[in-house]
Symmetry: C2
Subunit: 290 residues, 2 copies
């Protein structure tokens, strides 16, 4: 009886689409991210789209089981190399670099929006506000870490000659329908070809160059919190965004930078939280709402 | 089909009995503790016994619902004041101080063992190793924080004239059957009467004085980890008990001392983890295994 009510309630809500792209080395962080998404969104159903090229079939199957145990359908797309016959591909610019940029043309036409998430994150509150973001005329929504490191932002703005803030592409809301209208696969390839060599963060740079003006800026302290800079966030908010605030309001904790929280030596304010989710993601038991 | 298998599996395992004693001001930490116990023990069923004297009926009902939503039966016992007609009771030694000590005589005779837990803890792994501790001839199991603060321990040993380490009574395994044989309510009261004035931590002191020699010592880094002293634990273990180790092996994180993790100003290695569980405990949704 109670169960029926829940199923109906869930069916009435729309399923949230999540896009991820990673290789075999990021399977573990991906599982941690999924665990956090599941525990903190117990009433949601998800469809996860994984664009990849070299993850072995047995790993794909395990991931599929893992997702399904967390109320998520996983669809994996082993991306067709033919799409890249015209692309500048090298060791520095591997094919995988383009997946996020080309997702609107790789994902099924019937899919009209998706949330892209890097695997090095924890989702610690309901993700629905991101799913229901009001884009207006924009095609994307993303956050900039400008407030937390003004200098980096300034450098990138000059480097790329942009008018807008430098966006972090680890968390992206994408209106696929609109992007298919405004974007162009060939334009992406030629942009990379023209700028080859001067781009420090290839796909994030290309993303900013091509789509920068189409991006609605979201509050990074809620949608893409850079876990390295707690003190800077506290300072910027005049003390309001203390730890209690973050854990209550921040939706996405993003472990940016080279020091990754799954490494032994990682210490940081959110290290115990991340490592606890690692342990949870290793356990057999999975959770559902009741 | 899968569900049946699970129910059968659960019925085959014994239900774990948990004892708590607190007043109204500790309801919130208790809910956090219950949430952590539930999420990290998804395959267990629990019976929680709350000994109290002044928690209002409406709060008791809410707690009861909360526990039941987490696969736990809550039985509250409003302790009979008649039991204390012969006890030295004062503002310094309130009746509630005796609940943990007298639990074997307050709890039903049919209950033969119980795990006592302070409400200022997180249970971050399976609690079954504590439930299945092999007592041998002992009647209790508890941990000492001697290794992490030798000095405090030395002081207490001299102060109380004990031969054994000074035990922390925040986490206790109690063999109620044995204690009912070796212990005596009047002895507890007279011990307090004799030592009145010289006891700094009344009930923990009494506990050590009366039962010290009956206590099996358990590894505090697993069963009663003092969350203030991460560095000391790392040092003591020659680096082995780093953060990854703790999150994987420690069962009970105990937030000892005056700085409590639910306070705004609390900062500490486990602050984000605790505060995240606070947020989880405030949410409507509850979790069950599937």
């Amino acid at each position: 009886m109670k169960e029926d009510k829940y199923v109906n309630e869930r069916l009435m809500r729309d399923r949230i689409s999540i896009l991820v792209t990673f290789d075999k080395t990021y399977i573990k962080p991906f599982r941690v991210m999924i665990k956090s998404l599941s525990i903190n969104n117990p009433k949601e159903a998800f469809h996860v789209w994984l664009l990849h090229s070299a993850i072995p079939q047995e790993d794909v199957l395990l991931l599929s089981e893992y997702c399904s145990a967390h109320r998520m359908t996983l669809t994996t797309i082993d991306v067709d190399r033919a799409l890249f016959h015209n692309a500048p591909i090298s060791k520095q610019y591997p094919q995988e670099m383009y997946y996020r940029l080309l997702a609107p043309w790789i994902l099924p036409k019937s899919l009209d929006r998706v949330i892209y998430l890097d695997p090095d994150i924890l989702v610690i509150n309901s993700i629905r506000p991101l799913w229901e973001v009001a884009l207006g005329d924009y095609s994307f929504a993303a956050s900039s870490h400008s407030g937390v490191f003004e200098i980096v932002n300034g450098v990138n703005r000059v480097r790329l000659g942009n008018e807008h803030d430098y966006f972090n592409t680890g968390v992206l809301y994408m209106d696929l329908k609109k992007i298919r209208l405004i974007g162009d696969v060939e334009e992406i390839f030629s942009c990379v070809r023209e700028r080859e060599g001067e781009l420090l963060l290839p796909d994030q740079d290309v993303f900013n160059l091509i789509y920068g003006s189409q991006i609605l800026q979201m509050d990074d302290s809620i949608f893409n919190y850079d876990a390295r800079y707690f003190s800077a966030y506290v300072f910027k908010s005049k003390g309001r965004h203390d730890l209690d605030w973050v854990l209550k309001h921040t939706i996405i904790l993003h472990f940016c930078g080279k020091q990754k929280p799954w490494k032994k030596r990682y210490t940081g304010l959110f290290s115990a939280l991340y490592k606890h989710y690692m342990i949870l993601s290793d356990r057999e038991g999975v959770y559902s709402i009741r």
